[in-house]
Symmetry: C2
Subunit: 227 residues, 2 copies
DNA sequence: TTCGTCAAGTGACTCAAGGTCATTTGGTCG
DNA sequence: CGACCAAATGACCTTGAGTCACTTGACGAA
């Protein structure tokens, strides 16, 4: 548990974060350390004690900033998810001419290419993260999600002339489902990976996330276009 | 933890299951009790001690039949999943004439209509169940899955003339992804349900599993047909 | 029928990890 | 400079999965 860059950032902070900005910095620090651990392992393997250790804080302190492990990871997901939405909005706003289905499919799939952490967290959302969180913690997330969904949905409807009213947001519902499902299939647990690699004839069960998402979205949009 | 029908079945068994058939019956009993608890609550809320209690067995005995909680639920999923595949195979074999995309979409979606437990477990597969299971336990599952996928995929290719080689199995990959994702969105945790019900404007975030699966599959298949 | 054997069954125990809280202490302000 | 108080601490609590030394019922042999 060597000193990390984030831990260094911590030492720059006063020992007690009394100003709101210091609190925010410490919160960020905890999120960063949790993220680093999660990227290296899995949700179950990330221990709250380790997060605290890496951030050079006592375990109890972490619980001052996040009431549960699930709340911590929900906050992490929130950061990544809405950052992605913002980036996608940018891509959709860049070119206001009419788009083709395949172009949208590619744009979306590629925008998720490097977002393994985001998509892994997304797959945890309903089965894990929403399990130990209060309604008060969940509400703002859902509110932001809806807003982002409607905004991005509207943009998509503007780009794709063949979309009918309300099909933009629905596109994102299906996207969410596909991302969740495909990420689970593509990013298998070490045991599963071992099994799949040991038995070559199981190759059809292996899934390339971006490739599969692209074809699924392309097909889905072609289906909408050809009515 | 009153006596259940399965517990009654247990009492009909000898106290020690020495014959293979008795062992199998006891194994089934444990699975049935775990299923009953899971249907009433959630994976996290099912305690191994409760499963044992309902089956009128000591906790240690349950671990004689299933090495981990995850292995128990994987076995449960295996039962339900391959029973469903068998039923779907039946439906696909019933009428050997050419099918339309919407017909297949409806058939599949409806065959999953009453399978909430199956689809909920499926959504747990990669994020939870494969986490604490050995490769030896997982291999037979994956083998059976591949076989079922190829068989059902072949049948689908035979019914839908517009499908190209290998697109039958791929259809099931996408189906798996959609089912996993949509189930997670439709079957939200109690907290999430509370939030969504308290705030009517969040209605767009609610998902009707069968309806959404049907439209997604229909659109997907139309996309394949219109090339 | 009885008895020895041994695997099935048991439940008290261990262990790990999330979460709590009485106590300590550093920063701020009068 | 000292009092105050919220931030920080870490020993402790709780819960639940999983273990294992011991008990016991089923069955075959005598």
């Amino acid at each position: 548990m060597a000193s990390t860059s984030a831990a260094k950032a911590n030492r720059a902070l006063p020992q007690r974060a009394r100003k709101d900005e210091d609190k925010e910095a410490r919160r960020r620090l905890i999120l960063d350390e949790a993220l680093a651990l999660y990227q290296a392992t899995s949700y179950a393997e990330v221990k709250m004690a380790d997060v605290a250790g890496r951030a050079m804080l006592a375990k109890g302190t972490v619980f001052l900033y996040f009431p549960t492990k699930e709340a911590l990871f929900l906050a992490l997901l929130e950061d990544l998810l809405f950052a992605w939405f913002a980036r996608l909005d940018g891509l959709l706003a860049e070119d206001t001419s009419a788009w083709t289905g395949p172009r949208l499919a590619r744009t979306v799939a590629e925008s998720l290419e490097g977002e393994e952490t985001l998509t892994r967290l997304l797959a945890l959302l309903q089965t894990v993260l929403e399990q130990n969180v209060t309604a008060e913690q969940l509400r703002p997330f859902k509110e932001r999600l809806l807003a982002a969904l409607l905004r991005a949905g509207t943009l998509v409807e503007q780009r794709l002339p063949f979309l009918r009213d309300g099909e933009g947001p629905r596109f994102f519902i299906h996207l969410h489902a596909l991302v969740t499902g495909l990420r689970q299939m593509a990013d298998v647990a070490p045991v599963a990976r071992e099994v799949l690699e040991a038995l070559p004839h199981l190759a059809p069960l292996r899934v390339d996330f971006t490739a599969e998402l692209t074809t699924a979205l392309t097909t889905l949009l072609r289906g909408l276009e050809s009515r």
